[in-house]
Structures are given as C-alpha cells and as structure tokens.
Symmetry: C2
Subunit: 473 residues, 2 copies
C-alpha cells in the first residue's frame, strides 16, 4: 500500500489514475501468470459484498445455485454454430491430462450455455420440469491479448444464470426481470446510474435472439457494459435437441435465457466514484463502513475508541481501527485511499466535550458529533451519502449525454466531448460500422421510449431506431 501522493490525478491521466487506485487501495496485485490478476483481500471483500446482495435477490426470485463442469469438450462447444464462432477464437485449450495427450481438446469455459443445455437436454422431459431457474458463481476464461484490472482479464469471476421456460413470453419476462434486478442493484447499492436497453444485431451475444445490457458511464465519459441479460428463444434448445412433453402431450422445444455480471462492477465502482485521493465506496456496498483513527494513545482516547467499538459492534456496523504508529495525517490519507465511507477521528480536544469528528469520504465534510449520538448520526449519514453519491454520478452522466442530428454534429461532439451521443439510426449495420471506424464508438443500446424526429445520423436515410453511441472499456 503506497502513499496518497503516489496517485496520479484523474484529470491528467485517467488510465494511470485507475491503475494507481486499484493497486494502492489494495484491490488487485499483478501475478507472474500473464494476463491473470490476484484479487487482494480488500478487493475480494467488495466482491463478497456484491455477491451476498445479488445472491439473495436471485434466491428470492426462485433461482437455485448449481455447479457445472469447468471444461467444455470441443464437440460440445461446436453444437451451436453462432456461439462457437463468437467464442472459439478466445478460449484456452486443455490438450494434455496427466501424462497423456487427450483425444479431444477441452476448452476452459468462457461461458456455460452449452454445458447447461447439455444438462437440460437430460433433465427436461415434461412441462412439470419447467421452468428451470439455475445460476452459478464461478471463474471463466477468455484469452484476451491486452488486460486491465477488473475490466479485461484472462480470468473473470462472475455469476451466470441460465433458465429454461415453457413459453416465449415467460422467457422474455425472465430476461427483463433479471435486467431490472441488476439495474436496481447498481442504482441502490453501487450508487451507479445505468442505461438499460437492447443491443443491436451487431453487438448482441453470439447465439442470442436479443441481448440487453446495462451501460454505465465512467468519469472520463467512456462506457462500461456492466452486465447483460440475453433472450435465446429456441436457438440453443433446438441445436441441442431439447424437447419436452407439454400439457397436450406434444413434444415441444423450450425457451431460454442467460444473464451475468462480473467483477467488472468493481471497476465501475472505482471509475464512477473515485477521486484523486483514491477510492470512494458507497456505504451500502462497503465491506468496512467506518475507520476509527485515534489521534494519539492517551488513556481517554483509547477508552473512547473502546466505547465506540462496542457501539458499532452492537449495531452491526463494520469498522476497522488504525492503531499504527503513523501520524494522524498519514492515517487520514490512507483511509481516503481505501475509500471507507466515514472516518471517525478520536482526539483529546473533541473528547473534552465528549465529542468526536466524523469525516464523509465523498465530500470530505467534517461533522462534530456527541459520542452518545454516534450511531444515529452514522445511520443518517450513510443514507444521505448513498443518495448524494448516486445523484452526483447521475448529474455528471446526464451532463455528458449529447444529441447529434446529423453527421457533422456527431463528428463535432465525438471529437471534442467525452460522453455518450444519442442519435437516430436507419438500422443498417454499415452505419454502425462507419461510426466505429471514424470515431471508435460503438452503439451502446437502443432507446425505446423516445420519439424519432430526424433521419439516420450517418446515412440520412429514414431512421427506424434511436441509439446511444459511446467509446467503451
């Protein structure tokens, strides 16, 4: 863990700032295994905090956790044609086991659609077996050439839900239900505003009928796709020959979904809320909500720390104490790098009046508070901080969304203003490709609830859709 002065300013070099924060806050360390990262205790604690809340949401909506194999035989990956084309170029292949060469290559799962289908083919025989609502928490592997902590890595920790339904309606409803569970989680816990919407044909998942994504905007105006939910129709089910007897005793094919979020969300947390002093973690997701900093080791300070600890314990508020022999200033800076939501400074001057000083990490505002009121003050503060952090992120994001009516306007914005661009689009992939080539901007997702008022921003032919465009991580 380094010093706060080692953090590059985010306005000077955002990429360097990100790497500095990730390592100085103790979230990630580099390993000597190329392309793989080490998730350090503090980073993993944030992931556990996310897992706990999401897993409860999944279980409340009737989903069950399972564990599928880590490996996919090549022949199994090959069954769904679009899917294999999308994934085969970026997988790791096991070709030897023990001392022997394998008869068939096994890829380390990049995602598990085919494994779930292989299983569902075996267990779905009757309408009574539906719906199947399974999820798994696991590691996946994608053979990325360039990697960045949490954002792009050869190994990814994630959850993947895979469900099967009797009807199209029910499967589409599931796809959207999970999209909204992700949206609620990111808004209410991560304090991250997200745009949700359908992906274009070009950008959808390999093998899906339609894909929906959550698009968050980072501090630098770049998009982070922060979760996806896919509707597969009968694509995989038909390829795998999954059929069941319906109520009329006819053999029919079920409808499928999959949905997932990853440790990328930690990257989003950093890049939406972090500042030049380090991480800023919203209280509702923070694994450590309060850091106690004794200003010296006088007896009255030590005793007050003990009293506050007891109160925090009794009220289930997670905390840490910095008892190191560093200066208060150093401890404050370290607490700021870590992004603990509230720091409590316990010093002799305040204690004369039975008080301590609370410092909000997001605004650095100081609040003097009587020790006996500490829990109520904290609880009020946590709610306020959570709201303020969301609103601040929302305001900043909205101020960086622009409308382009024609290609000149689009060019002007794309070249000068970081952020998202809203535009009308004819629906032709050629226009998407041109924008990608000219500005390195991809379509984020469709805007469904706004009127189309002009022609395609690219080719000027009649527009059929509205879209968000943006550069992406």
């Amino acid at each position: 863990m380094g010093d706060v002065k080692d953090i590059t300013s985010r306005d000077i070099d955002f990429a360097k700032w990100y790497t500095d924060v990730v390592t100085k806050a103790g979230l990630i360390d580099y390993s000597s295994v190329k392309g793989s990262m080490i998730i350090c205790p503090y980073g993993y604690a944030i992931w556990e905090s996310m897992q706990k809340i999401l897993d409860e949401s999944f279980k409340k909506t009737g989903h069950e956790n399972v564990q599928m194999p880590l490996f996919i035989p090549e022949s199994l990956l090959n069954i769904e044609k679009e899917h294999v084309q999308g994934f085969a170029p970026e997988v790791a292949w096991v070709t030897e086991g023990g001392k022997e060469k394998l008869d068939e290559r096994l890829c380390v799962r990049p995602t598990s659609e085919v494994l779930f289908c292989d299983y569902y083919k075996k267990v779905i025989k009757s309408y009574r077996d539906l719906p199947k609502l399974y999820n798994q928490w696991c590691t996946i592997v994608r053979w990325e050439k360039t990697t960045r902590p949490f954002l792009r890595s050869r190994e990814i920790l994630w959850q993947e839900g895979h469900t099967m339904h009797a009807t199209e309606e029910e499967a589409i409803a599931e796809t959207l239900r999970m999209l909204h569970i992700y949206e609620d989680f990111q808004k209410n816990y991560l304090a991250i505003p997200v745009i949700i919407g359908k992906k274009t044909e070009k950008e959808k998942f390999a093998g899906a009928v339609s894909s929906y994504s959550l698009e968050a905007m980072m501090y630098d105006g770049v998009a982070l796709q922060n979760g996806t939910s896919h509707y597969f129709g009968q694509n995989f089910a038909a390829s795998f020959g999954i059929e069941y007897l319906n109520k009329d005793n006819k053999l029919v094919t079920p409808y499928q979904t999959s949905w997932g979020v990853t440790t990328r969300m930690i990257g989003a947390l950093i890049m939406v809320h972090g500042d030049d002093r380090g991480l800023v973690i919203p209280p509702k997701i923070a694994p450590v909500k309060v850091i106690l900093i004794p200003i010296n080791d006088k007896i009255e300070v030590i005793e007050s720390v003990k009293k506050i600890e007891e109160e925090l314990n009794n009220n289930n508020i997670s905390y840490k104490i910095d008892n190191s022999n560093k200066t208060p200033g150093y401890k404050f800076a370290q607490a700021e790098v870590k992004g603990y939501p509230v720091r409590i400074e316990i010093g002799p001057r305040d204690l004369k009046e039975n008080k301590v000083t609370l410092v909000r990490r997001d605004t650095l505002e100081k609040i003097t508070c009587n020790i006996k009121d500490i829990i109520s003050t904290l609880n009020t503060l946590f709610i306020k901080m959570q709201d303020d952090m969301y609103n601040k992120a929302l305001k900043r994001r909205d101020s960086m969304i622009y409308e382009a009516h024609d290609y000149k306007e689009f060019t002007e914005i794309a070249n000068n203003k970081p952020g998202f661009i809203k535009a009308n689009w004819c629906g032709d992939v050629a226009c998407e490709n041109k924008i990608k080539e000219d500005f390195n901007m991809k379509s984020r997702c469709l805007i469904e609830d706004e009127e189309i008022t002009t022609n395609c921003v690219c080719c000027n032919k009649p527009a059929k859709y509205r879209l968000y465009f943006g550069r992406q991580y």
Copy 2:
C-alpha cells in the same frame, strides 16, 4: 429424482447404495464431460451451508479471502522439487490459447502453494508484513482416472488456506489451530466423529514437513480423509527465495502452512448418516430443516400449513412444502430420500385436536405436537437429533476400531472385520508398504496419546509409534 424403492440396500451393495442416494436425492448428476460432475441445487445448497459456517470461523480467526490465478506456468510449478513430483503426474495442461500455441504450458491449479509463494515473495518484505493469513474458495483440477461423486473427481470445489509466519512455533500453532477448527466443525455441525493426527512420512503432502489429517470412518468401515492441515517449515519459502527483514534488521525466511477441506465432506455426510431410505442430514447443516406435508387439500389443512409457515418464517427455520398431487406415502418417501431432518404431517385427524405429527428423519420416531408448541418442540428436537446422530456415529465407529498385536492378529482382523486397526509400528516405510500390499490398507495417522506396549505389528522389531490403519476412499 426417483423412488425410494430404487435405492439399493447399503448392506447389500454399499457402493451402489451411495450412487443411488447421491443421484436420487438430487445432489449430483453426471455430465457428458468425462470425469466432471454437475453439482445439483440440493448438493450445492449443502456446500453453501458448509461454506458459510467455515468462512465465518476463518474470518473470526483473522483470515482474509483472496483469489489467485487459475493457471500455473510449468516453470513456477517446477520450483519446489518434491511438490512438482507429487503433482505433475495428475494435472491438466493448457497448451493453446486463442488460436496460438503457448510458449509455456500452463497447468490448471491442482493446489495453489506455488501461486501463493510467488505472491508472498513480492509482498513480504518486513516483519510488519507477517503473519499473512489468506484463504481462497475455488475449483481445483486433478486428472483422476477413476472418479466417484464428491469423493474423487477431476474437478473439486474446496477452500485452501495459505499462511506465512515469522516463527516456527507460530506456524505450527496455526497448522494445529486450523486442524481443530475443522475437527470442531465436523463434530458439531456434520455430527461426524473424526480422528485427527499426523501423517507418516510416506503419506504426507508433497513438499510438507508434516501433514495432519482428519480421518472419518464411513458406514462400511472404510476411511475418508476429510481434510488436511500442513506445516511446511521453510521448504517452499526457501525454494522461492522469500525473505524479510526481521526486528534485528536481518534477512530471514518465514514459516508456512496450508490447510483445506473439500466437497468430499458431503460424501462423508452421506456415508456416515445415510440409511436405506436415503440421506439423513444433521439439523445444524441442513439447508432445509423442515418439510411440510399436507395430507390433503381441505381448507383447514391449507390454513394450518399457512399458520405453521408463518411461525417457521418468524423463527428463521428453513422449510419446504410438498404441494404435489402425489399420495402422502409417496411424499413421505421423497422427504426421506432428501434427508430433511424433520417432516411435519398436517392432516385432518390431528387438526381436530389442534395437533400435527412430527417425524424425526434419523430415527423415524413420530411425535404428536400441539400447533402452538411447534417452534419450541422443533428447537428441542434439533438439538437432540444433532447429539443423537453424533453419538450414534461415534458408537458405531468405536465398535469398528480393533487392536492388532502381531501380524497374525492383523491379518485375521483385516481379512474379516471392516474398520480401523490400531497397531504399533517401527517407523520403517517397508512395513507400511507390506501392509498396503497385503491388505490394501494405508496408515491413517499417528496416535500420539497412547502407550506403545508391543513391538512393530509387521516386522516385530522395537516399535516407535502407534498408528491407525484402514482402507480408504
């Protein structure tokens, strides 16, 4: 999920009984990926229940969770010589990534000592950096030829703790502390009596100074090694060149441990407590403690079920309801296969007196209970069942431990009586090997607290140790 009559009797064919229970109870399903199993929702829920309790114990004792890479470059695996000899023959090798052949083979981690050492070399610089108390929950891969659900599989879910300490004493204390945490967990939650002790040189972990194991005896008298804790001394640390500045400003090498338990514990749970009707799960580890079975769908039955549900919810007692249109008898049998600790039968006859019938899964004893007393009756019952199950397992195990004073006695017991054999031993690996060859019995662990009264059971030379011998899964 099949019918109870499909379960083979455990006294007729124990191996077949085990496979029947594992599949009929919905714990595991076979996948078309050779050597890999699918852990089904009920099996995974048991694992989550185990994880939750153990993870809390680890955190209470100061351990932090991390996530290390999935892959180990061959050169990294090769650093510790004994270790690589032990593991290289049974790993899976990734040789291709994306479309390219890799310069260096990567093995899928069979265990992560070398990954932790590689990291510790980087971050342990001063005595202030010690101890390091890290754990990870993950999947490991060992290229087994023959596999059995939960017991031997190419993929294993486990946790692995890896710690570094300033002194030998502290590292040995940690090795034993974790052994005792496992022992407490298995006794108090799994209701499984375990023998703990040091492994012989022949049986210890590749690269360890000493290994300790937990040895449980299954219903058929066969041992299951149900967890291990290893003391490494400075073996790995020296090979990896891990050094730190101690308080006297001298560069010294730290001392290391590792410890782990796996989904094997689910296998032990089945084979210690299960019976011819299926699983029997101790209340403290059961993901579903109560199964409610309405005897019919009369209004008073439905209303009573609702009332009981509310009570169970209010008291945080996990439950399921069998609302299927099957006969009560069928539902009872299904509940027995699943091993839910208590079944509550709600029928019109009992309800006339405001009563329901509770059935203990372990003894099948019926208890009639007034609805208003249901929670207190259940809570008392859970405690009693947990104790009874442990004591029953303990009594059975102890009745299957024999003493052999010479090779004739050993032969007599080994050929006729399933279970463990206690014997004195000279310490020569030749005697261990002979017993292995003659009876397919391995030494389980050393007995430290009993007097050595006779010569080596094998060669009749003076004995130095006492040992447990047993066949193993």
